[in-house]
Structures are given as structure tokens and as C-alpha cells.
């Protein structure tokens, strides 16, 4: 009997499998398909202070072994999430969730965290300072170590629950950003967000995505994500939630060996709606294959 339990800043998860924000809504779409309590947890749709419709369509393009999205954080806003989405979620999920938070200014992040911190169902905050689809009118917190430090520090002041900062890979040195948020008091780091990418429709000679560029995800980006997790693990002591292209229990093991304590599954949920559940069910078999008894023993094992 293998042990799949992992621990994120004092929160024990039955297993490290966490559907990633933006691919799992507020959970209940998937609860129609399977009992989502099988998951370690999940990270809900990126939530902003005000409601957002997001970007114009087309928002989706395909790539070899992946996809590009330019949704632009469509969500009903934090108040509606608390009033309408979380009650629905509580009916189908009896574990804690990761609150994924998006914003355009430091005080926006602070206000959202203040509100969500009071919700019992929230296990930790995952502060997204790295969405590639938002660049109008907001500072790009994820690509500047000082800005990343500033937002982390501000959010930590109002949060009673652990704060994880979600980083972008679209930087020269991800380890330096990771160090900055650790120094600012972050309890952990989530990475990676999507890579900036694009596709062109050769028939119309125009970009496929209405916003021209978008976030590239899917199994194609797994090696980049793995490399980032490996680099950040060397740079910081706080736990890492690793993600980017994870599509199998084999990928989960590899991501943990690079340094991840837990692993998020993103785009794979969209092409295989039962994907996260299948990974959870397959994990013990793959652990036995590699003679792993306690999953937490392999975290950072490749270093």
C-alpha cells in the first residue's frame, strides 16, 4: 500500500493532484462527470475584484501537443463567487480548495484576498501575478522582482491562510522572481503559468486568436515547466506546486522529482474531462513501478 499524501504549508492533501485554475471552473461542471472528492484539491477559476467578460473571441487555437488560450480571466467577480459559486461548490466538494486570484493593482489583490480569506472552503490563496492575457492598464507583477515582492508583502499582511504566488515562465531568470516572493513572505510558489504564444491562420493570413497572442499550454510545455520547477527548487526553501503540461501519473512523478510538492493538471482536463481522476487512480501503480512507498520522499529527488 503506497502513501500518496503530501503537505502544503500544513494542509495535508490525500494526493498531490490538483486541477489547475481556468481548466476546472468552480468545480461543479466536473462534478457532473465524476466525484471530484477523489482529487487532492483544485484551484478555482481566476477571480478578480470586479466581474470580467474577458477577451474577444476567438480565444482558442491549437498547437502541436498543446493549445493557446486568450480567455482573459472571465469571471463573475469575487462577490458573486462568494455568493453564488462557492455555495454550489460546497455541495459537490467536501475538501478545501485553492483560491486563484487575479488583479491589476496591489490593492485589488489585497481586497480579494481579504474577502476570500474568510471562506472556510479556501485552503490557500494562489495569487496569479502572471496571466499573459492581461497587459492593459496593469503593472506586470510577474516579470519584475520588485513588483512581485511588493504584491506578495501586501497580500501576506491580510491573509491568515497560506499565500502561494503563481509565477510566469516568460522571464529571463525565474529563480530571481521566486527568491523575491520568498523574501516577501510567500508560503509557497506555483509555477508555471502559460507561455506566451501565437498561431496564424494561413488561409486568412491573420492571427487565429482575436488578441493575436495568448497563453500556450498542454503537454508540449512540460519540459519547460519541469526545468522552471527544478531551477526554482534550487533557489528557494518554500514548497512548490508544479504545473505545465502534466498529462499522466508519470508526469506527476517527474514533476515532484524536479521539486514540486503538489502538481496541478491544466489543459489536459479540457481534452480529457476525466483526465485528473484517471491520474489519481493511476498514481499508485506508477509509484509501485518506481518503488516509491511515500510520495513525499521523492520531492526534489532529482537534485
Amino acid at each position: 500500500m503506497v502513501n500518496t499524501k503530501v503537505n502544503l504549508s500544513g494542509w495535508e492533501l490525500d494526493n498531490p493532484i490538483i486541477p489547475a485554475s481556468g481548466t476546472f471552473g468552480y468545480g461543479y461542471e466536473y462534478a457532473e462527470l465524476y466525484d471530484i472528492n477523489i482529487l487532492g484539491s483544485f484551484s478555482f477559476k481566476g477571480t478578480t475584484l470586479e466581474p470580467r467578460f474577458g477577451n474577444p473571441t476567438p480565444r482558442i487555437a491549437e498547437t502541436p501537443n498543446g493549445m493557446i488560450n486568450s480567455v482573459g480571466l472571465q469571471n463573475p467577480g469575487v462577490d458573486a463567487v462568494i455568493a453564488e459559486e462557492l455555495p454550489k461548490l460546497r455541495k459537490c466538494f467536501n475538501k478545501k480548495v485553492i483560491a486563484n486570484i487575479g488583479g491589476f493593482a496591489v490593492d485589488e489583490f489585497v481586497k480579494i484576498v481579504e474577502k476570500l480569506d474568510k471562506e472556510d472552503i479556501v485552503g490557500l490563496h494562489e495569487v496569479n501575478i502572471s496571466c499573459p492575457n492581461l497587459h492593459k492598464g496593469g503593472k506586470n507583477f510577474g516579470t519584475d522582482a520588485d513588483a512581485a515582492y511588493e504584491v506578495t508583502k501586501a497580500v501576506k499582511k491580510v491573509a491568515s491562510k497560506p499565500v502561494y504566488i503563481k509565477l510566469t515562465p516568460n522571464v529571463t531568470d525565474i529563480a530571481s522572481i521566486a527568491k523575491a516572493v520568498e523574501e516577501a513572505g510567500a508560503d509557497g510558489i506555483s509555477l508555471i503559468n502559460t507561455l506566451l504564444g501565437m498561431r496564424i491562420n494561413k488561409r486568412t493570413r491573420k492571427p487565429i486568436i482575436a488578441n493575436k497572442m495568448g497563453g500556450f499550454s498542454g503537454s508540449a510545455i512540460f519540459p519547460v515547466a519541469l526545468r522552471c520547477v527544478y531551477q526554482v527548487y534550487e533557489a528557494v526553501k518554500i514548497p512548490i506546486i508544479g504545473m505545465g503540461g502534466v498529462s499522466s501519473a508519470e508526469d506527476v512523478i517527474e514533476m515532484m522529482m524536479a521539486g514540486a510538492t503538489a502538481v496541478e493538471v491544466g489543459a489536459y482536463n479540457l481534452v480529457n474531462p476525466y483526465g485528473s481522476k484517471e491520474i489519481v487512480l493511476d498514481l499508485p501503480r506508477v509509484m509501485e513501478k518506481y518503488r516509491i512507498e511515500n510520495l513525499c520522499d521523492i520531492i526534489g529527488g532529482a537534485h
Binding site: 461542471e29 488560450n69 479540457l270
Partner: protein, 243 residues
């Protein structure tokens, strides 16, 4: 929604770039006309959402156009090939709400979902007429299928090579109706919307990520709030549409 394996029974060319494929498998989740299926193809990351042309207990038939590499690959598939398919996606047409004299209007590959809808409307005892619009005669398909249902079937072509010359809207005055159901390119939907004197149900298309409401890739604004074409649509009621 159900995920299951289907086997290609046949996959035949109807016109220059339009194909008809019959897929044998579990169709129990296809509960309404106007719903679509989402097909996983080897070597392609995203599934391909395709409307249902016809459906019975053991098979679903689709008619699709080759518009890119994915559908090009689909066109190459032969009998016996198995495909991972999500079925029963989208809200579909509500036959009960469709009135008594229903005018169906399809443009190009917007024609196929009208066929399964026509069958369901007829079995609900309603009067059905069909207008199908194409660019030219060589693009026309499925006309005989509609005629075989015994319903009034009008063809329009932009170049006048067959049927009524012009757009589907040029044929609308020749039919008596109290409700419209339509699917086709967005400019056609808009023209039908403007020309229609009654309520109606409009089936929209959008690039999708997942097809089941999770990714918010295909959102649109309506008078009744934001909707996902894949989950809250693809059918929108006339009164809610914002162009």
C-alpha cells in the same frame, strides 16, 4: 455528456470538401437535436466539435467540411477506425418551444443539424419546411434527405446555378411559419434574424477549447448574461441575441 468509443461505419465524400461519416457507438447521451459531439483525433490536441446530422440508438451520423488539418485528417479515416468521442454536448433545440409551423434554415455546413431537428419536429406532429443555402450547385448536399421526409425543401444558391438565386432570406417569403430554427455562418444568421417576423432559435459556432463548459473559450454576451456557446448554447433564442 458521455465519453465513449465509436467505430467508423462509413466516411464518404458528398461534395468537393464536405464529407458524411456514420459512427457506431453509444448514443444514449444525445437527447436533443442541435447538440454536437466532440471528436478526439490522433495527433491533434483539441477535439473537433461537429453537429449531429442524424442519430438512432446505435449510431450517429455527421456531415462535416474540411476546413483545416484536423478535418482533413478526419476525411482520411476509413471503416473500422475507432474514435474517442464526447456525446450529448450543448443545449440543443427545444422541440416543444418551436411552434407549430417551423421553418428550418441552414447555410452550408449549418444544414446538417437541421435534419435531425426536422425528424424530431415531425414526430412531434409539427409542420416543417426547409431552406438550404449554398454558394453554387456543386456545393449542394443532403437535399434528397430532406425531401425524403416529405417536407417542403427550397434550395438557394448565391450564383443561381440551382434553385432560387440569392441568399436563404430570398426564399423566406415563400414559406408560412410561426418559428424559425437556423444554423449557418454568422452573417447568414444575422440576415435571417433581420428578415424573420417571428421568434426563433439560432445555432452559433465558435472556436472551442473543451466543448463542455470548463474553459470559457467560447463565451459570448447575450441579453440574458454571458453564455458559453458550448454549454449554454450553441442554440440561443432570438430575443437574447446581441450582434
Amino acid at each position: 455528456m458521455k465519453q465513449s468509443l465509436f467505430t467508423v461505419d462509413y466516411n464518404v465524400k458528398l461534395t468537393f470538401d464536405v464529407y458524411k461519416m456514420r459512427l457506431v457507438g453509444d448514443t444514449s447521451d444525445i437527447t436533443k437535436p442541435g447538440q454536437f459531439i466532440n471528436i478526439k483525433l490522433d495527433g491533434f490536441y483539441l477535439r473537433r466539435p461537429i453537429s449531429v446530422f442524424d442519430c438512432d440508438e446505435s449510431a450517429v451520423t455527421i456531415i462535416y467540411k474540411v476546413v483545416g488539418e484536423g478535418t482533413e485528417y478526419m476525411a482520411s479515416l476509413g471503416k473500422g477506425k475507432t474514435l474517442d468521442v464526447l456525446t450529448g454536448l450543448g443545449n440543443g433545440f427545444d422541440v416543444e418551444k418551436c411552434g407549430q409551423k417551423v421553418l428550418l434554415i441552414g447555410g452550408g455546413v449549418g444544414v446538417p443539424p437541421m435534419f435531425y431537428l426536422a425528424k424530431k419536429l415531425l414526430s412531434a406532429g409539427k409542420t416543417v419546411s426547409m431552406i438550404m443555402g449554398f454558394n453554387k450547385e456543386s456545393e449542394v448536399f443532403a437535399k434528397e434527405d430532406f425531401e425524403a421526409l416529405g417536407i417542403k425543401t427550397l434550395v438557394t444558391t448565391v450564383d443561381g446555378s440551382v434553385g432560387i438565386k440569392g441568399f436563404v432570406t430570398n426564399a423566406m417569403d415563400e414559406v408560412e411559419y410561426d418559428c424559425i430554427c437556423t444554423c449557418g455562418p454568422e452573417p447568414m444568421l444575422k440576415a435571417v434574424y433581420d428578415a424573420s417576423k417571428t421568434t426563433g432559435f439560432f445555432s452559433f459556432e465558435e472556436r472551442m477549447g473543451c466543448g463542455f463548459g470548463a474553459c470559457m473559450g467560447c463565451s459570448c454576451k447575450t441579453k440574458y448574461g454571458n453564455k458559453r456557446i458550448c454549454k449554454d448554447g450553441p442554440i440561443l433564442v432570438k430575443e437574447e441575441i446581441i450582434w
